[in-house]
Amino acid sequence: MENRFDDQKILDYLDGVLEEGEKRLFENELENNSDLQERLDLLLFTINAIKLKGYKHTIRQVQQDFIQEKLENKKFTPFATPKLERKKIPLLFWGKVAAAVSLLVLFGFIFYLLRTDGPSLYEGKYISYEIATERGFSEQENHLEPLFLQGEFRQMFQAIAARDAEQLSAKELLLLGNAALELDSATASLTYLRKLDENNKNSGTDSFQDEADFFLALTYLKLKDYQAAYQLVDKIRSDERHKYRGNFSGLDQLSIRIRTLF
């Protein structure tokens, strides 16, 4: 069958710029003209290929950035120190060397403390939250728990999408905060863990307070909010009965303290 419509018209139809009357005519023709339908399919296929080309470029860029970030989180570049030459030198010189070495050690120590920035401390200290078996959870909590245990973190946010943040229980807030950390979104985690902390303060309760302190501290570290992280680490380490007391060392605390000075 012969086509009354050329490629320009077909493209106008696909681009949505045909006038209403012309569009109706075109669609009527399309119903009865298999050649026209075939041509339209081919042009549509070509357009989709162009779109896919754009997607391909986007995917490549995002993947490159993602892998780069992933590598940077793992990477550690050792610090190379030059070798000293062996010479016969007076005692005074050795005194100077000793002073220099002491300085070097001091700088090395400071360098070590500075090297461990928030995100790297986070990587070193992060542990996945383990759900303790307790009785009396509400239906909703029972709904989030299996998702958390199965690692369906994204689905957890879908499950609570229609609910007001005020309605979320302490356990739900804790699970959501941890799910966000598992998904590498410290900003989202902050919202839920802060809410849990605030709720406890406002109601005078301490539901999952130790967990909130620990995971909030980690979240702040990930976000490089050293002041906030330091306060929590200090709180955790000062409390002898805190569940997570052993998870931060004095050196970690000092390292964070130094970061707060910059």
Binding site: D15, L52, K53, T58, F153, L183
Partner: protein
């Protein structure tokens, strides 16, 4: 959409099909699912580089499913991605000569290729052929077609961005570029047949 927040499946799908924040939507998918997809390849005789290549192609097939309206919303993004990734990786293994790897995998898993996914894979092969022809176009043509069909620019916006004197000039130029592309395709009988087959398979 807040970039710091974790997006739900629906939000990701809406942003992609609305062509709003595609970069961020794709990034969210990488953050959420890269590790799962990578693990599958690593646990089945693949390297990190194999995983990276397979995941890149998985994303392309996934976006094509959404673009062509074949994504069934009752399925979660995770399960669809996992299915595509598995099919692609098994296809790669099949193509490789290592019989050892091949038997290892096929004994362990029964390959259940989802109908829509397999159609999408066939389509992608056809698209790749057109993409190769697209690369042969001049820079200006590539820009105009990409801006119009991928970036969703209007003729007026393209005229301004590419310094054309009017929208009509852009429209004419865009048509010429499309014609160049289809002429190239029709000029190569083998290629044309392959694309037509891919088109039929994809239906």
């Amino acid at each position: 959409m807040n970039k710091g927040k974790v997006w739900t499946d629906q939000e990701i799908l809406d942003e992609i099909s609305g062509a709003n924040q595609i970069n961020e939507a794709v990034r969210q998918i990488y953050l959420g699912y890269y590790e799962i997809l990578e693990n599958y390849v690593l646990q089945n005789n693949g390297s990190e580089a194999d995983a990276a290549d397979t995941i890149q192609e998985t994303m392309l097939v996934f976006l094509n499913l959404i673009e062509t309206g074949k994504y069934r919303e009752e399925a979660s993004i995770k399960s669809v991605l996992y299915g595509i990734n598995r099919n692609l990786w098994l296809t790669t293994l099949r193509k490789r000569k290592s019989r050892e790897n091949r038997h290892g995998i096929y004994e362990k898993e029964q390959v259940q290729v989802d109908y829509d996914v397999s159609k999408s894979l066939a389509e992608i092969e056809g698209y790749q052929l057109i993409m190769a022809l697209f690369e042969k176009l001049g820079e200006k043509c590539k820009r105009i077609l990409t801006l119009f069909y991928y970036e969703d620019f209007s003729m007026k916006e393209i005229a301004e961005a590419e310094e054309f004197s009017s929208e009509q000039v852009v429209r004419n130029k865009k048509f010429k570029c499309m014609k160049q592309l289809t002429d190239q395709l029709e000029g190569n009988r083998n290629l044309y047949e392959m694309v037509r087959n891919a088109l039929k398979d994809g239906k």
